[in-house]
């Protein structure tokens, strides 16, 4: 009975902080897509005699992230050397944090459940190794070396693959809302390791296994499901779990043994002598807090208070780009916010999805979206006309200008509508007779009438006049 076991999950998430320069040197961080080793300087290459200098912006972003995760950030914090020999680290150590991380003991609420954050600390990233199939050597690109990373570690309080996925989505949206990281897994700017053990409900924690190399939220969920089943099966058969480090094989959708875990002592951590420690003061924290933009949870509450549907409010609050457009479109809009939301999540999103475009890269002006919806609210445009105009509005056109320029406006003159109705009725007396007794036959008249009016008439008004004519 595998169902008897429940997984206990902790996550370690690495985020690249979006600074201009690297964490300990003035080397630029915008290496993505650049030639190998062109975003390097003496410090990045670990040349003798170089000294690290701490990037103020990386510290500020770490503090902001910590505050968003309800962490303790005030007080003493310092860097440590984590020593290991591997070609991706030319210094032969990583500058990380050990016993005194910058962020401590926070939490995040996930669907009403509290997930504890053990810590978040600053460190530098390593270079990237490639292993060409043709050669007995590896190739090293140090552009990534020295990138500012924040690593956050959760308590083992996540209970399912689905909860892990939701949690990751929340961390990404918090990081993006704060502007501290692009948190883009595809570019390696958000990476995740999973610690997972299984136990029978009520039992003490079991032996955990670490799964590395997870570069998408989907892989995280799949790896958790795979490991839960694998470990449950071993325990069920009377076996024991060994504390291993596993890799994730995305192709085969399974975990594989990478190595038996080194002890922490093997890294021979010691306080980094080249960097003075930090004393984070209440004033520094207050300054960072004052700069903090609205968080997803606060956005969600604001949207709900505007009467926006909960499922819509959820997706809007998690997306920086959608909420930015919505908030800007809401400025000076007096109708129901949901009207704007319906267009944004409906036709606008459909337009973008169909063209694989991102909202930020489209030419849509939030004021134009507002204008379009206001034209519908005012009865100037029908929904159908607005949908047609949207194609141009998405290309940057102002809907008011389009309406004026083309003389577009809903036909709301009863005389014009009545004339069209009369024409259609005269042309098809048989259907008219049917329609007088059978309400379903009315549609056979309605269609041609709308067509005659070029789809520009208000459908309710057409129905109203048509019905009164059929009755009369």
């Amino acid at each position: 009975m595998l169902g008897m076991f429940e997984p206990v999950i902790g996550l370690e998430i690495h985020l690249h902080l979006s600074t201009q320069s690297k964490i300990f040197s003035s080397c630029a961080t915008n290496y993505y897509g650049s030639e190998a080793n062109t975003h390097t300087d003496p410090l990045t290459l670990g040349l003798p005699g170089t000294l690290p200098t701490l990037n103020a912006e990386a510290v500020e972003k770490a503090l902001m992230f910590g505050l968003a995760l309800n962490c303790e950030v005030e007080g003493f914090t310092q860097f440590h050397r984590k020593n290991y020999y591997y070609p991706d680290a030319p210094k032969n150590y990583q500058i990380s944090q050990y016993d005194r991380p910058i962020c401590r003991e926070g939490f995040v609420m996930v669907d009403g459940e509290r997930i504890g954050i053990t810590r978040a600390h600053l460190e530098d990233d390593a270079g990237k190794l490639v292993h060409p199939g043709y050669a007995p050597y590896s190739l090293l690109d140090l552009n990534r070396a020295g990138m500012p990373l924040i690593e956050m570690v959760t308590e083992p309080e996540i209970k399912s693959a689905e909860q892990a996925r939701v949690f990751l989505g929340m961390i990404r949206s918090i990081a993006q809302a704060l502007g501290i990281s692009d948190a883009n897994p595809e570019e390696g700017k958000m990476r995740c390791d999973v610690n997972i053990s299984v136990r029978r409900p009520g039992e003490a924690l079991g032996t955990k296994v670490e799964v590395k190399n997870l570069n998408s939220f989907r892989s995280v969920a799949l790896a958790i499901e795979f490991e839960t089943a694998r470990q449950s099966k071993i325990l069920e058969g009377g076996g024991k779990i060994t504390q291993d480090t596993m890799g994730w094989d995305d192709g085969g959708q399974k975990t594989y043994l990478m190595r038996t875990k080194e002890g922490e002592a093997d890294y021979r951590y010691f306080p980094e002598p080249d960097l003075p420690p930090l004393m984070i003061t209440a004033e520094m924290v207050a300054k960072v807090r004052a700069k903090m933009p609205e968080l997803p949870a606060q956005k969600l509450e604001r949207y709900l208070s505007l009467g926006i549907k909960e499922s819509d409010a959820q997706s809007l609050s998690m997306s920086v780009s959608l909420s930015r457009v919505l908030d800007s479109a809401l400025q000076g809009y007096t109708g129901a916010g949901q009207n704007l939301v319906n267009w944004l999540l409906g036709d606008v999103s459909g337009y973008l999805a169909g063209r694989e475009l991102e909202l930020e890269k489209s030419k849509l002006e939030p004021a134009h979206l507002r204008g379009l919806v206001q034209l519908i609210d005012a009865g100037t445009l029908s929904g159908k006309m607005a949908k047609e105009l949207l194609l141009e509005v998405m290309e940057g056109a102002d809907p008011h200008a389009l309406v004026l320029e083309r003389g577009l406006a809903v036909i709301s003159d009863p005389v014009v509508i009545a004339a069209a109705i009369d024409e259609v009725m005269q042309a098809d007396p048989a259907t008219v007779e049917k329609a007088k007794t059978n309400p379903k036959a009315v549609n056979a008249l309605f269609g041609p009438i709308m067509k005659k009016l070029g789809g520009k008439a208000k459908p309710e008004l057409v129905r109203e006049i048509l019905n009164s004519k059929l009755e009369g």
Binding site: N37, D41, G247
Partner: protein, 109 residues
Amino acid sequence: MIDSSHTNPDPINPNQISHAQMEHLKNLARLELSAAETSALEGDLNKMVGYFQQLSELDTTGVAELPRPIELVNIFRTDEVGPMFSSQQAMDLAVESEDGFYKVPRVIE
């Protein structure tokens, strides 16, 4: 310089660092040492450990933490981009290179 004549076992507490631990440390530090060098280092390390044990006998209750001997805190650099190496400059420093990459011993986990 490693003084290979110096093989005196630690006077305070011999065998604090075992031979097996010594081999493990050599591996972590990627050091290739002769038997004589290893044994000399083992002696030196044991002396150091003994010294730290002596220090830890001090009662430090109520003594404030001194993380660094120099009282410097909060030294920051403004987030500005400075000069960087060109591919050529970066490769000029390499023992071996290929297509702008450093060539390193094959490592695959």
